[in-house]
């Protein structure tokens, strides 16, 4: 299946038949109690196009074996396809070398790898780690564990009422004890797109490496790790139309080589005796044990799919959906959008006067509408806005304007019930 190849001839961002793209996703034909599924929980996990499903089937039916070991046919094919997926990811983020791309189980695993591999080796007692209020718990908790272990300190960049990072406050946090910055590229709870390039440059002026949590950014905007000059970049496949259980960590070669391994086991070694083990070269040093081979190959297929459409086109289309949804929700009395940053990805968090998000989610579900309700694993953001939770609609390129209309109708139903 080759999506929208004809339209690639044009430079236009709006020359795609999005209905045709939508038809690539079999799950979107589902009915929930006879109502068509309206899937607006893409920030939690996106759906998978037929081409990726087919790729997984082809791998399992004709290419599967363990990799990097045997000399037989299937093992060679599987190794080659796994490596091909790595190269696809390398090109997707424009990394200099394919060995800078490490397959992990996902963003959380990637961040934990950096914490163990870099943090535990280089962060010492009294050192400071800068994080932001917008971080997902997965980019908070590992660093708290490290800080506790080492006697290091976490400093937090505040946000303003729109949900934007306060850059002047960020810059003031730096001192000679600052040793690491962990920064979310796009807020999963609010959609805020952070000025990461500027923030990375500032950290580098102080000789401080920066990890970017790109879980919400990679699906919605082009990522160029060389332009960003970030030291680490992490994201998961399942938010990019790929399978669960796989993600990547990008890291600069010199840093990855200086780091200690995170997990010990097979494949990550050059030689083992009971006296001494010599670690393998990167990326293998960080890929102990049999990796999620099928998922990684599926990840590659998902990237192929998205690249064929064009991430810029996806971003432009999603932006029109977000603008439309924002206008619609702003017109409903009693509905308040949380997160109104000038630069936003297609995430719409909202609260309704007097109605708990869980009741909203349950009643919207009645109309087949899937939204996320809760704190979105970002409790510091909720505390900042003094709310326990929000309802969150998050859009993908296969969503339609008519689905936004359905959301609006659903919200009005909720309000009517609780009148």
């Amino acid at each position: 299946m080759k999506p929208a190849n004809a339209s690639l001839k044009s430079e236009s961002l709006f020359d795609i038949d999005w209905e045709k793209i939508r038809a690539d996703f079999p799950i979107l034909n589902l009915k929930i109690d006879e109502k068509p599924l309206i899937y607006l929980d893409n920030a939690a996990s996106s759906q998978m196009p037929q081409s990726v499903i087919d790729r997984l089937v082809r791998y399992q039916t004709a290419q599967h074996a363990n990799i990097n070991r045997a000399v037989h046919y299937l093992s060679e094919i599987a190794t080659m396809e796994y490596q091909r997926a790595r190269c696809t990811l390398q090109q997707f983020i424009n990394a200099r070398e394919d060995r800078e791309v490490i397959f992990t189980s996902g963003t959380t695993d990637s961040i934990n790898l950096v914490m163990h591999g870099y943090g535990r080796k280089f962060i010492k007692s009294g050192d400071e780690i800068i994080l932001t209020t917008l971080e997902h718990h997965s980019n908070i908790v590992p660093w708290q564990m490290l800080a506790e272990e080492k006697g290091a300190k976490i400093r937090v960049v505040p946000i303003n009422d729109k949900g934007e990072l306060q850059i002047d406050a960020y810059e003031k946090l730096f001192n000679e004890r600052t040793k690491f910055v962990g920064l979310i590229h796009v807020s999963n709870a609010l959609g805020t797109i952070n000025p990461v390039k500027k923030m990375i440059d500032f950290a580098h002026q102080h000789g401080v490496p920066v990890l970017i949590d790109g879980a919400q950014a990679a699906p919605h905007m082009p990522i160029d790790v060389q332009v960003l000059d970030c030291d680490f970049y992490a994201f998961s496949a399942h938010k990019l139309c790929g399978p669960t259980g796989v993600g990547i960590l990008y890291g600069k070669t010199d840093l990855l080589e200086a780091m200690q391994p995170f997990k010990g086991g097979g494949d990550m070694i050059a030689s083992v005796t009971f006296e001494k083990t010599v670690y393998n070269t990167i990326p293998h040093k960080f890929e102990a044990g049999t990796p999620p081979i099928a998922a990684a190959i599926g990840f590659g297929a998902a990237i192929d799919y998205l690249t064929a459409i064009g991430i810029e086109r996806i971003a432009a289309y999603e932006s029109t959906l977000l603008d439309y949804a924002t206008d619609c929700l702003n017109e409903i009395p009693g509905v308040k959008i949380i997160g109104t940053a000038a630069n936003k990805a297609a995430v719409l968090s909202f609260v309704i006067d007097g109605i708990h998000p869980h009741d909203i989610g349950t009643i919207l579900n009645q109309d087949g509408i899937a939204v996320r309700t809760g704190h979105h694993c970002a409790q510091p953001v909720m505390h900042r806005f003094n709310i326990p939770a929000t309802s969150r609609a998050s859009f993908a390129f296969y969503n339609r304007k008519s689905e936004v209309d359905a959301l609006v109708a659903g919200i009005k139903t909720v309000q009517k019930i609780f009148l």
């Binding site: 708990h356 998000p357 869980h358 009741d359 349950t362 009645q366 309700t373 704190h375 326990p388 609780f418």
Partner: protein, 162 residues
């Protein structure tokens, strides 16, 4: 889905709008705080118990409509009852919410059976059960209850079914 329609019935919406016995008793003999860490909902329950009889009960907190209505209806159900009767209701309500109670058999829940639809919404069972959990904690002099505790019957049932 049909069960959602039946869940948000007028009686539940009414107790959510106008919760009964809402507040905090000044001279409580028993109290406990209930907490659902999954959504941040919490409520506290205060009781005045004399000679094993619940003379007064109040609750307050922040929660969804299901939790608030459940708490409100619970307070009206147990007020004036003996401790033992309250424990029976707690047991029966938990069984109802987790789908283990046959409402056609004899029970003491009365209008509380309006919550029977919750059994089809595993993620919302905790919302309905939290007040009852907290009452149980208060009656047994446990300072706080959590829907995530190891001995949480709801948790046990959900993991058992998945």
């Amino acid at each position: 889905m049909m069960y959602t329609n039946s869940l948000y019935q007028e009686v539940i919406l009414d107790h959510n709008r106008k919760p009964r016995n809402y507040g905090k008793l000044d001279h409580a003999s028993h109290q406990a705080v209930g907490h659902n860490p999954l959504c941040g909902d919490h409520l506290d329950i205060t009781l005045q118990i004399e000679n094993d009889q619940i003379n007064n009960i109040a609750f307050q907190g922040e929660s969804c409509a299901i939790c608030k209505a459940s708490a409100s209806m619970m307070t009206t159900a147990v007020k004036g009852k003996s401790r033992l009767d309250a424990e029976t209701l707690i047991h029966e309500f938990r069984e109802l919410a987790t789908g283990k109670l046959d409402i056609n058999q004899s029970h003491h829940l009365g209008r509380l059976t309006v919550f029977s639809g919750i059994r089809d919404l595993p993620t919302r069972v905790k919302c309905a059960v939290l007040p009852w959990h907290t009452l149980h904690a208060a009656l047994n002099a446990i300072a706080s209850a959590s829907t995530e505790a190891n001995d949480d019957p709801v948790q046990t049932v959900i993991s058992g079914n998945s």
